[in-house]
Amino acid sequence: MTGLLRLHGWLKKTTKQKPSKLDIFYEGGTITPSTPSHFQNVALFADLQSAVLQKLDAVAWLKTYHDAQIIMLEGEQKAPVFFIVEGTARAFRANPEGREQTLIHLHSGDGFNIPTAFSRETSAAATVIAVGTVKLLGISPQDFRRVVSETPEIALAVLGNLSDKLRHFTTMTHDLSLRSVRGRLAKFILAQYQGKNPKVRRWTQEEIAAQIGTVREVVSRTLRAFVRDNLIEMKRQHIIVLDPEGLKNETEV
């Protein structure tokens, strides 16, 4: 019931923005095993031989989503395991009022919903939407589990990926629980400044808020506070980092 309320709140907010968000647009179809495998471009499988990856080719399909389309809904039962071939997607959870917490941005080479293939819990843990056009390889959870259980190399690669994700979410839990909003925003600005996110991009304050676990108004106030403290300067759409050391000190408070 709670999941339905959350879904309702998020849909109420997002469908007003773009009615087409709920249209699942299917392009492409099943893929034939090839050399090199379609999965060779998926980072977590990059070190594996094509012959091994063709086992995944045999059970996968290719799907394309357009900007803001929903790839997977939180709570969806038995959603496929996905791997991004091209493009970016955003995974998040939302409360009944539609406020979002971004969990992770997924890029070319990333996989998601992998735990569904191995867990007793078969519902999707988060909503994932396309940011721009995204091409994905999809595999049913049963097929993925079967291939992984038969292929130790793939199993080890999956374990490595899940370990990385666990580390990511451990860090996120620490940040949300033990850092102040100033600290989280400072960390976010530093990460962008230091180019730790793969793509240089523009952000709305709403997106920054979803990323760091707060609301837009608090982001706005905190940015103004950073300007007053000479940590940053805001010139129209440019947020210019004046004092990276000062921002680093904020993350440690």
Partner: protein, 74 residues
């Protein structure tokens, strides 16, 4: 990168309340066909007042985080 960005106003979300027009400090926003439009882009200071005041969340401003240029440092 475009150095003169403007706020984006979503017609899907906008309720036509006019608060952004009333509160814009540089009068860059006007009502055209019942909806606010940045009619005087050269006057827009990108201050974010319209985004703050909009009760429907219809106005968004984009930001890019970057280092201080070497010219500004000297």
């Amino acid at each position: 990168m475009n150095n003169w960005m403007l706020p984006t106003i979503s017609r899907d979300l906008c309720t036509g309340c006019g608060l952004c027009i009333t509160y814009c400090p540089t009068s860059a926003v006007e009502k055209i066909d019942q909806y606010p439009v940045i009619a005087h882009p050269e006057a827009c200071a990108y201050c974010g007042t319209c985004e703050d005041i909009c009760p429907a969340g219809a106005i968004t401003l984009l930001y890019q985080i970057e280092p201080q240029s070497t010219d500004e440092k000297t």
